[in-house]
């Protein structure tokens, strides 16, 4: 009898551990311990995740990482999963035709938002793929005559990595520095252009610091020198007005999941007059005009189209609302604590991205305390390497300040209550950490930290 109870208990414990093992998933984001993960242990008093107990799901202030799908977008997508599930490239039957019609409708919705023609839009799996096609595809196509690429130091990792790949193949790449406010110096850009420059790539809105580059001026320069201009507009789509004619862009990368659309879809804008040609990175049946082979995922494309249409209608209202919330957040924090620095230009910035540095407080420890708010940091400890964010470093932020930055993202669904609560929690944590900080103590005593010789190891 004893042995039976023993055996059943043992079995129960072993299977429970096995189940726990299979549930653990890797997290690569830098959000606090209360980040999203499948099947947290829920009990009556709240959620326990990774040894941390919080009262409910955290406030989401990381919209630059991804955004929730707008329910209206979801409504538009659902029929294409279960009833209108045809492959848009099936030419022989009704399912294919209706699917194709939906994809073309989505294509024109995306095109209208950026001022382009639907024939110039190619659906991809996301902005990363679009960036890859733009950079590697263009340079490989024109490799006989053009050997040089210009980009900036604050680009997204996929752009920088594609450029590094090109460097290994023998191309030259110039990484333009940025000013301390994050903007590109136009004179330096002009000086960098060579006769064999094949592409200039400057992102529209930076994902870490939110600055908006002077794209119209850059477009003018590129037109003057007749160099194709590519921009990564993943963070800009649906947030600032985009006009491909005004900006004179030849290529533009777009992302679905940053504008309240589904993850796994994006688009690439390719100018037709004058035509920019690319070497395809995905070979296959020649879909999407031969640029990107593979079945276009109808529900995802429809979702992206619906998201773009909504963004078109609500861009103004969202912008005004988000600006007000940003002011509320910044003033709320500045009223209560000092030593708060905004990273990046305040004037030329997208309101929904606020990157703050709190002096004398380290970013990861602050995130650990902000368990109930989902935000991101540019601190070394939160990246896999011990390097602080390269974007902040390119701004010339002092290394000790780079370790202290937090990025707050405000979106369409962020409420005033969430902002107030985030302010309250942030201020509380910063004050607590400053109590624990030797640097703050030294500053209060009047010692200049920059003069100290640190005992490195």
């Amino acid at each position: 009898m004893t042995s039976k109870i023993l055996a059943s208990n043992l079995r129960h414990h072993l299977t429970r551990s096995a189940r726990i093992l299979s549930r653990r998933q890797s997290l690569s984001t830098a959000t606090a311990a209360a980040a999203d993960s499948p099947q947290p242990y829920e009990d009556a008093a709240g959620i326990t995740m990774k040894g941390v107990k919080i009262s409910g799901r955290p406030l989401y202030l990381d919209v630059q990482a991804t955004s929730p799908v707008d329910p209206r977008v979801l409504d538009a997508m659902l029929p294409f999963f279960v009833s209108r599930y045809g492959n848009p490239h099936s030419r022989t039957h009704f399912y294919g035709w209706e699917s194709d019609e939906a994809v073309e409708r989505a294509r024109s919705q995306v095109a209208v938002l950026i001022g382009a023609s639907p024939k110039e839009i190619v659906f991809t799996s996301g902005a990363t793929e679009s960036n890859n096609i733009s950079i590697k595809g263009v340079m490989h196509f024109y490799k006989d005559k053009k050997k040089h690429v210009i980009t900036t130091q604050t680009e997204h990792k996929c752009v920088l990595d594609s450029c590094r790949h090109l460097q290994q193949e023998g191309f030259d790449v110039t990484y333009l520095p940025v000013e301390s406010d994050g903007l590109v110096d136009l004179e330096k850009l002009k000086a960098a252009i060579r006769p064999d420059t094949g592409l200039v790539s400057v992102m529209a809105v930076n994902n870490e610091i939110g600055v908006v580059q002077p794209l119209e001026e850059i477009g003018k320069i590129c037109k003057e020198f007749n160099v194709p201009f590519h921009t990564d507009a993943a963070q800009a789509l649906g947030k600032i007005p985009i006009d491909v004619e005004k900006w004179n862009v030849s290529l533009m990368s777009l992302s679905g999941h940053k504008i309240y659309g589904p993850k796994g879809v994006g688009a690439l804008y390719l100018r037709r007059r004058p035509r920019i040609r690319v070497e395809p990175q995905m070979n296959g049946g020649g879909q999407e005009r031969g640029i990107r082979s593979g079945t276009v995922p109808t529900p995802l494309a429809v979702g992206m189209g619906a998201a773009c249409e909504l963004a078109m209608k609500e861009m103004d209202y969202d912008e005004r609302r988000i600006s007000k919330l940003q002011e509320r957040l910044l003033n709320g924090i500045r009223d209560k604590i000092d030593g708060v620095v905004v990273n990046g230009s305040m004037e030329r910035r997208y309101a929904g991205n606020l990157n703050l540095s709190f002096a004398y407080v380290e970013g990861e420890s602050l995130l650990m305390g902000l368990k109930e708010v989902a935000v991101s940091s540019g601190s070394a400890c939160t990246s896999a390497s011990l390097e602080p964010s390269y974007v902040l470093r390119a701004l010339g932020v002092d290394e000790d300040m780079a370790h202290t930055s937090i990025r707050f993202g405000i979106g369409r669904f962020t409420t005033e209550n969430e902002i107030d609560r985030a302010v309250e929690l942030t201020v509380k944590q910063v004050e607590k950490l400053r109590e624990m900080s030797p640097l703050y103590e030294m500053v209060k005593e009047g010692i200049n930290i920059k003069e100290i010789q640190w005992a490195q190891h």
Partner: protein
């Protein structure tokens, strides 16, 4: 009652089971705060400062803001017995750094100065289940202890020297 005994027995194996997934995930380098680290962060022990120039105080300041880690560890030593009676710390660093220094202050209390020099960073790391990427935090804590002891010795030597001169 039998069931209770059975549960206790299996609880032993269950905690062993629970420990190994944690360590195997730690080895893979996934982001995971051990509950001890979270505990030290939420309830830090011995945060604060002593007066630097007070007699019997040794201050160790190690690290660099550029690396993202600065630790200040202070020990209060009883001059006669050479025993550390109290310790305080202040840290600018991530959760693991804060926890490492908090653990360091707990472990030095009540020990002799020579004893604490033998505290190894690997022991601190093991106690907190630090992942490989965070081992430098425990390293810094060990350095802080050594620096505090050295500072105390230096101060005492110069104080004795001065004392001799003044009398």
């Amino acid at each position: 009652m039998l069931k209770l005994a059975a549960k206790r027995l299996t609880a032993g194996t269950a905690s062993f089971q629970a420990a190994s997934p944690a360590s195997s995930f730690v080895a893979v380098g996934r982001r995971f705060y051990h509950e001890r680290v979270v505990d030290h962060y939420n309830n830090p022990r011995n945060v604060g400062s002593f007066e630097k120039d007070e007699a019997g105080i040794g201050t160790g300041l190690v690290g660099a803001p550029a690396c993202g880690d600065v630790m200040k560890l202070q020990i209060k030593v009883d001059d006669e017995t050479g025993k550390i009676v109290d310790a305080r710390f202040k840290t600018f660093g991530c959760g693991s750094a804060i926890a490492s220094s908090s653990v360091a202050t707990e472990w030095v209390k009540g020990k002799q100065m020579e004893e604490v020099l033998s505290i190894k960073n690997s022991e601190i790391a093991k106690h907190l289940s630090l992942p490989p990427v965070k081992l430098h935090c425990s390293m810094l804590a060990e350095d802080a202890i050594k620096a505090a002891v050295k500072d105390y010795e230096t101060k005492r030597a110069s104080a004795n020297g001065n004392g001799k001169v003044s009398t």
